[in-house]
Symmetry: C2
Subunit: 264 residues, 2 copies
């Protein structure tokens, strides 16, 4: 499954300029997938700074280009993913059956962490937790039960801190449960996560916490923070054949809405 690199999100740009870029990127993505349909499926990119244009391009991706969904950032400028402005986009994605990959971007704390690549090592895991919490507490997942969200980078720090997040929900519902009364832990079974956590013990934790059926191989390829031998982390766990198959392609096919025969 191919996706555009997040640096192309261009949420900072004027909406129509970003749309023009995204159209070109999505056309190219569709060309690559059409040229090698047994090897590639693809998700596109949309100018989320204009939800209206994002819906328009999402519809084109799904209806005309044969893509399976789109990748979005962990927030969009000043909007977290619970922003009312973004709901029409998620609603359209749900109705279209589009797979949505949430990738960390525009990391919190960047200005105050200039050294040691900390926006990537510290900020990115936090971005994924911010995004997941916003989708959960903002009621986006609750109102759109068919929405197919996958959190990249194993959901960042979200799965590891779900106990803390749940505890906050239980102890201060006046602050946390303002827009959705449901326990956040329930949504672990309503989201997908990629497997790329760069650590065997963390991957086992992720599988134990979220369930093998919610996790799919993720690589972050071709970035240096990615898995240099895709799938090696899953292989090293020594799982049974069924679980391995689920992680290598079963979960991803379900999320993308594709039959295995597409790649046979």
């Amino acid at each position: 499954m191919l996706s555009t690199v997040p640096v192309m999100f261009s949420y900072w740009a004027k909406p129509h300029h970003a749309l023009e870029l995204h159209q070109a990127l999505n056309d190219h993505m569709a060309d690559a997938c059409n040229a090698h349909p047994r090897h590639y499926a693809g998700i596109g990119t949309v100018p989320l700074q204009s939800p209206r244009l994002a819906v328009q391009e999402l519809e084109r991706c799904m209806d005309q280009l044969g893509l399976q969904g789109v990748q979005i950032g962990s927030h969009v400028n000043d909007w977290n993913l619970d922003a009312p402005e973004l709901f029409e986009f998620f609603q359209a994605a749900s109705e279209l059956g589009a797979a949505i990959l949430v990738h960390p971007w525009d990391m919190m704390g960047t200005a105050s962490m200039p050294k040691y690549w900390l926006p990537w090592l510290v900020g990115m895991p936090a971005e994924q937790s911010r995004a997941a919490c916003s989708l959960v507490f903002g009621g986006v997942l609750e109102r759109l039960p068919k929405l197919k969200i996958c959190m990249a980078h194993g959901g960042g720090s979200f799965p590891y801190t779900i106990g803390r997040i749940e505890h906050g929900f239980n102890m201060r519902p006046d602050l946390v449960a303002t827009d959705n009364p449901r326990n956040p832990r329930e949504y672990l079974a309503r989201m997908y996560f990629d497997s790329w956590v760069a650590d065997d013990r963390a991957l086992r934790y992720l599988l134990d916490t979220c369930g093998v059926s919610r996790v799919m191989l993720g690589t972050d390829y071709p970035f240096p923070l990615g898995e240099q031998t895709p799938g090696a982390g899953i292989a090293s766990l020594g799982l049974g054949e069924a679980d391995q198959a689920r992680l290598y392609h079963g979960t991803a096919l379900e999320w993308l809405g594709l039959p295995k025969s597409r790649f046979a």
Copy 2:
């Protein structure tokens, strides 16, 4: 072990004003511990916005007040914990044998996460990772091998993302290993962590990753995000007696430099 609430850090204040407050807080802390020496040990607070005054008050805490160390924030205004300006403080702490508790504060992303208590649920775990990474990659722990650092809140997201952090170190040493060539994973065995992660599975992960000998009971009492029945999380794991004793008081006594007989 008592500590001052982080909201009293007052790093925003003029140094001498903060010092005056901290002196009063530390005098009160010493009074409480002296009144109930079999029940309480204490750590103080120092005006780290002036490392010189912080060292002065740390010396008073250790030499005159009978406290065991001090609590500090995960960063100090514009300084991360690797800031050269702060090194004299850590050097003094190392020489004095002072226990240093790092607590999340002034959370990254606060302005952009106004809803759902996210600075506490998302920002605080990230703050602890920022602080730990700064101490590691800045070479503070490397240059001061006797420095006794405990990371509150189980080290936040740091232990869970240690594989990612190590991978970044291996793949982009030009960005990450600029000030310390040693693998960050080695420092898990040179820091202490409290146990307060609000989740049984996360606590097991923490113990497996950092070692029982590096983890001590933490409560975050009296805050609502804290453990409402202190020690219940540790008790629920069903560990052997020796491991339980280590977690309940053994690690803490080692970190604080106190004999068990003090509390007999």
